[in-house]
């Protein structure tokens, strides 16, 4: 084959571009005809630190605003309090590449970059979360958490959600201040694109405390879900401080904080007290669910007197909760995964999440290619369940509309 007939690319001369990096994901989307159904990603991320200067302008307290502008969001170096070296020393190239990727002046860079990866992967709608702010609940000054989360939520609503119907968000609640959390729900509950409220799980408040009840009642009344988003704590957490490898901190932390809050949620009878409040447990993987079901059911049989509000087994309540798929523990044991899906009633309770652009992101094919799911089950997990839980209007992305038109089925 002569050289001039072979297509080639030399990587040394290429600029980083999300669409190119995800070309194989696009091929998967085309092969599997994702244009035939709605795909919602209930946990995609952006790096709000890239817009931190803009977000600072939304901080209401002028002194806090000045502190934030001068000081920046946080330190992420190897000696920082969370000790992070999460980016794998450049092994995952979208981390360094993202900063150099070119975008047009309008729309906002975060909208462009988000839609770029959504279109490449085959996603119609995303629930967008921040990244470093997931650990904001660990900051020592509650007023900083309140000020930054209010500023971020205002910025997100005005700059992103208002302008892009394919992006929604479950807004951050400043959990260290129950009154401010309540006010957040009151102030932002009806805004365009606000599809729920989120407790970022690493923090040291008991979320069954009576102080939060009016917040839960209001979220329930609004018909919105309450999301618990997993993350890790390291330097400030005595248990996690025993870990010296990030693998350990990540593997335990993202599940642990949700295991902790879910256990307390159940033991305090919250599903009975707020029966219409939908809870979603995000980014903790799936393997913890059968563990906790078995563990709590076993204890409940002997100590139900301590938790008289629970009228049924803890696992019965857990089967009525919702879970996000990622990071799905799918290494080598399909049988365990299938049992996990069965135990949580995955076809109605599980919601696809990519977690893109983070290093452990999952493509829709991780669900679509599972041999034990029915076609309806796959479509439910990839979008149908999210549509129902978040009351989403189904949107077909422009890319998919073009594919449908090309097939003559638009």
């Amino acid at each position: 084959m002569p050289m001039d007939t072979v297509d080639f690319r030399d990587l040394a001369v290429e600029e980083f571009d999300t669409t190119t990096m995800l070309k194989h994901a696009t091929e998967q989307a085309i092969q599997r005809r994702y244009e035939d159904f709605f795909i919602a990603d209930i946990d995609g991320h952006h790096y709000e630190t890239g817009s931190f200067a803009q977000i600072c302008e939304y901080i209401e307290d002028p002194v806090m605003r000045q502190q934030a502008k001068y000081q920046g969001f946080g330190g992420s170096g190897i000696a920082s309090s969370n000790g992070a070296y999460q980016e794998l020393m450049g092994r995952v190239t979208r981390y360094p590449g993202r900063r150099k990727e070119k975008t047009p002046t309008t729309p906002h860079r975060d909208i462009t970059l988000t839609k770029r990866w959504m279109d490449a992967i085959g996603i119609d709608y995303v629930c967008m979360f921040p990244t470093p702010m997931l650990s904001l609940g660990l900051t020592p000054r509650p007023e900083v958490e309140v000020a930054l989360s209010r500023a971020y939520n205002r910025w997100l609503c005005e700059v992103v959600l208002q302008n892009e119907p394919r992006i929604g968000s479950s807004l951050y609640l400043p959990i260290n201040d129950p009154e401010a959390s309540y006010q957040m729900v009151k102030d932002f509950g009806g805004k365009k694109g606000v599809i729920g409220f989120t407790i970022c799980s690493p923090h040291y408040k008991a979320t069954y405390d009576n102080a939060y009840c009016k917040t839960y009642a209001l979220i329930e009344e609004m018909g919105l879900p309450l999301v618990y988003h997993g993350a890790f704590a390291w330097g400030g957490d005595q248990s996690m401080s025993l870990c010296n490898r990030f693998l350990a901190v990540h593997a335990l932390g993202f599940s642990w904080f949700n295991i902790l809050h879910c256990t307390n949620w159940l033991c305090n009878g919250m599903p009975e007290r707020f029966p219409k409040l939908k809870t979603i447990w995000v980014e903790s993987g799936l393997a913890w669910v059968p563990f906790l079901m078995q563990r709590l059911d076993n204890e409940w049989m002997m100590r139900s007197s301590e938790v008289p509000l629970l009228k049924r087994k803890p696992s019965d309540y857990m089967r009525e909760m919702y879970y996000s798929t990622q990071p799905m523990e799918m290494v080598h044991n399909r049988e365990a995964l299938e049992l996990t899906f069965k135990m949580m009633n995955a076809e109605t309770q599980l919601l696809y999440a990519s977690d893109y652009p983070h290093w452990d992101m999952d493509l829709p094919s991780t669900i679509y290619d599972l041999p034990f799911l029915s076609e309806t089950g796959k479509r439910n997990i990839l979008g149908g369940n999210a549509k129902r839980v978040f009351n989403l209007e189904p949107i077909v992305s422009e890319v998919k509309q073009k594919r449908l038109a090309a097939r003559g089925t638009a």
Binding site: M1, V6, R9, L11, T93, D360, L363
Partner: protein, 121 residues
């Protein structure tokens, strides 16, 4: 089986990668330490463009006498291909996954002749 011309010798810089489309198959040709390696540009994990990431040496824990941990070090003799999507790692020499020998990249034979580099597809 056909020999597909990849490049003239030296056209791919040391440490560089050329991704070629050979019919249906995308193949990454990597030049490392003056030697060429060719693998299908497809990660067995989630289908990522495995040849488009970086190469890094394997990492070793150095354990001293009595089981005492001393330090970590790079193993410069064992270079890894790292998938840019999720950091799955494969030995550059044979394309075998560093965690599970059953997982491997599809390898293509590289032929250097008459000042040019070919892969056998």
């Amino acid at each position: 089986m056909a020999d597909v011309l990849v490049c003239k010798d030296g056209e791919i810089a040391e440490g560089g990668v050329r991704v070629i489309q050979a019919g249906e198959v995308e193949i990454g040709v990597i030049r490392h330490d003056g030697k060429y390696y060719a693998y299908r540009n497809h990660c067995p994990h989630q289908g990522g463009p495995v040849c488009e990431g970086i190469r890094m040496p394997g990492v070793l824990d150095i354990i001293g006498e009595g089981g005492i941990f001393l330090q970590q070090d790079f193993d410069q003799k064992d270079i890894h291909i790292v998938c840019p999507w999720h950091s799955y790692e494969f030995h550059l020499e044979d394309g075998v996954n560093v965690c599970d020998k059953r997982i491997r990249l599809q390898k293509f034979k590289v032929v250097e002749k008459d000042g040019a580099v070919y892969i056998n597809v």
